[in-house]
């Protein structure tokens, strides 16, 4: 597989936060690839480092974060030729990185309520990136914004383009946030729990919208979520994270049909399904996620794992490739070849 098929290649990404001169590791040796035109879902419970991972990639991190990576490479494809960008070597807010944000990589954030600047009209906020990168006139930008609003199903767009964020409902605000991310027609869309703050009916609408845009234009998506139903619907590949590590990575089929890691199994068992028996209880994962500051050596999931063995608590657990492209970080599979 060459660079044409891989849009984003992340190798051994490590992120830590420094507070009171103490460094706490949050993301540990995260590696994954996003295939062009496909959707990668990153799943895991709250605090497992999903958001930090993608924010580290696009370098939108708070000042006290330290990000190191062996490789974070974005491959832009234009007229059949690939241009490689090493994001890990770029300055966070430098010119190179800024040129990619918007036209190449679009971002949708978790909370639409606070993601829009309260003092500017939504139309201007959407147009801002467009004017910045394409140097077009305001009138032209307005036309493009109107088209995008129509595409995203915002009713009465001519009127609403002049409204302020507080005049929008949550679902409509998220459409505006998506419009900001998509207006420069990026190849890769990173959606960080785009529907968590919205109610279920709106969730479905927003996701359908994103899926439609992806299929029509052949875009790639990284979807961060803890909603397994959404994963099943949207994803081509799935990356399961726990305590800052990728514990299982594979195609949708690998993860749902050949579930391998005990954590992924537990995660799937805790999803409510329609054909549950009366009185059948939904399973939960025992225990709580440990504090990243006082993690012991060995497997991070050991204390909550029903299949935990003595040797799970020693050293760093490597990942094993149980079938091509399906990686599991669990000693149960140590007869398979080790991979990075």
């Amino acid at each position: 597989m060459d660079n044409k098929d891989i849009i984003l290649d992340v190798k051994k990404l490590n992120t830590s936060f420094v507070s009171d001169k103490k460094e706490t590791k949050i993301i540990k040796d995260v590696s994954f690839q996003v295939k062009r035109g496909k959707t990668l879902a990153i799943v895991g419970e709250s605090g497992c480092g999903k958001s930090v991972t993608v924010h580290s990639i696009v370098k939108l991190m708070p000042r006290n974060a330290r990000v190191r990576a062996k490789k974070v490479q974005y491959n832009a494809l234009k007229d059949g030729a690939v241009t490689e960008y090493s994001l890990d070597k770029m300055e966070a807010y430098g010119k190179e990185m800024r040129k990619l944000r918007g036209p190449e990589i679009g971002m949708v954030f978790q909370d639409p309520m606070s993601s829009l600047n309260p003092v500017y009209r939504v139309g201007d906020q959407v147009a801002e990136g467009l004017i910045e990168h394409e140097h077009i006139s305001k009138a032209e930008a307005r036309k493009r914004v109107l088209d995008m609003f129509k595409k995203l199903g915002i009713p009465d767009p001519e009127q609403r383009i002049n409204d302020y964020p507080h005049q929008f409902s949550g679902g409509m605000k998220q459409r505006v946030v998506i419009a900001i991310a998509m207006i420069s027609n990026p190849e890769l869309l990173i959606a960080d729990e785009p529907t968590t703050a919205l109610d279920v009916t709106i969730q479905a609408q927003i996701m359908e919208l994103m899926k439609k845009l992806q299929v029509e234009d052949g875009k790639s998506i990284i979807l961060i979520t803890h909603n397994m139903g959404l994963v099943a619907e949207m994803a081509d590949e799935v990356c399961v994270m726990y305590m800052g590590r990728v514990v299982e990575f594979g195609t949708l089929e690998d993860i749902f049909e050949h579930t391998s890691h005990p954590y992924t199994k537990a995660l799937l068992r805790s999803v409510p399904v329609l054909d549950m028996e009366d009185g059948e209880e939904l399973e939960t994962i025992p225990g709580i996620t440990p504090n990243p500051a006082d993690l012991k050596e060995g497997c991070e999931f050991a204390d909550r794992c029903s299949e935990c063995m003595e040797r799970c608590r020693k050293g760093t657990i490597p990942a094993y490739e149980v079938s091509p492209g399906h990686r599991v970080r669990c000693l149960k599979y140590d007869k398979f070849p080790e991979v990075d």
Binding site: R101, G102, G106, S115, L116, N117, E132, H166
Partner: protein, 318 residues
């Protein structure tokens, strides 16, 4: 927006009346008997004289009568006379106001520019050298009392170094802008520095808060340059609370700074007020207090209008 402004303006009238009443009544309870300030001690022995004077000045009338008489005079532009010097309060204020305006405007403009600039830069370069110096300066600026600071300035720059005059607004022989400015530097800078401290801290903290908000991340995700992130998205949001402080400093233009004017023998309104309080010159106290209160109302009106202009959410209730 126009309706909003008119409404706010009309609301000021009853407020002003209420304030004037409170000031008037409040002053009656201070126990100041102006008569004793008006006559020489040997005359005070004669109670008949005192009674006659009381009757003459209408001090024996009921409170409400006196209040409305005073208010009526005031509305006709008759501010009354100082009971100490006998001069017209209007003339007194007309003489002193330019001095106060000069000093306060100087300090207000300078402290706003310096305070906000350092505050914003400190927030952008958090824990940088400017932030560090600014933080030390802010603590020192707030901790040192104005009078001490003023006296130190006089000691160092006027007496030891002889760069600036020790006090006053102009030299007896000196006329012209240069001489005025030369006199203005020390009191102006003293006032500026003490006003900077609060503003700096405030601007820094609100800007820090704004820079951590999600919409700043959204702005950055668009790939716009950092200066636009700071000035367009950060500054305008951070300025709303800072503007409130600024507006409420405007009454200073009229009221002056009592301490600084006293230390530097600056012939402004602040000095009138202290003299009036010391000598029980209650008509002067009344008028100056009311002037400052009116200025306060104007300031709060400005806050309302400016926040509405800066923040569309405030305009909802129009």
């Amino acid at each position: 927006m126009l309706k909003f402004i008119v409404k706010k303006l009309l609301q000021m009238i009853p407020m002003l009346l209420l304030i004037s009443f409170i000031v008037f009544v409040g002053l009656q309870f201070t126990g100041i008997d102006p008569i004793y300030y008006m006559i020489s001690p040997d005359m005070a022995a004669n109670t008949d004289n005192i009674e006659a004077l009381r009757e003459l000045y209408g001090f024996n009338d009921p409170l409400l009568v006196r209040y409305f008489r005073w208010l009526g005079d005031l509305l006709q532009g008759n501010f009354g006379y100082s009971i100490v010097s006998g001069s017209s309060i209007k003339t007194l204020i007309a003489q002193r106001l330019p001095a106060t305006l000069e000093l306060s405007a100087f300090a207000l403009v300078l402290s706003t520019i310096i305070g906000i600039t350092i505050g914003i830069v400190s927030a952008i370069k958090q824990n940088g050298i400017i932030d560090y110096i600014g933080r030390v300066f802010a603590v020192v600026g707030q901790a040192i009392p104005q009078f001490f600071f003023g006296i130190s300035m006089i000691l160092i720059f006027a007496i030891k170094l002889g760069w600036f005059p020790t006090a006053g607004r102009m030299s007896p022989e000196g006329v012209g802008f240069g001489d005025r400015l030369w006199h203005l530097v020390l009191p102006g800078m003293t006032l500026t520095l003490s006003m900077c401290a609060v503003l700096m801290r405030y601007a820094r903290n609100t800007m820090l808060g704004v820079l951590n908000s999600d919409y700043i991340k959204t702005a950055r995700s668009k790939g716009i340059p950092e200066w636009k992130v700071y000035l367009k998205h950060g500054f305008r949001n951070a300025m709303r609370p800072v503007l409130v402080i600024l507006c409420f400093r405007l009454p200073m233009l009229i009221g002056g700074s009592v301490v600084i004017e006293e230390v530097f023998a600056w012939p402004g309104i602040g000095t009138i007020l202290t003299q009036a309080v010391v000598s029980g010159d209650y008509p002067v106290i009344l008028v100056t207090t009311l002037m400052v209160a009116a200025a306060m109302l104007v300031a709060s009106f400005l806050v309302d209008v400016l926040t509405a202009l800066l923040d569309p959410r405030v305009r909802i209730g129009e």
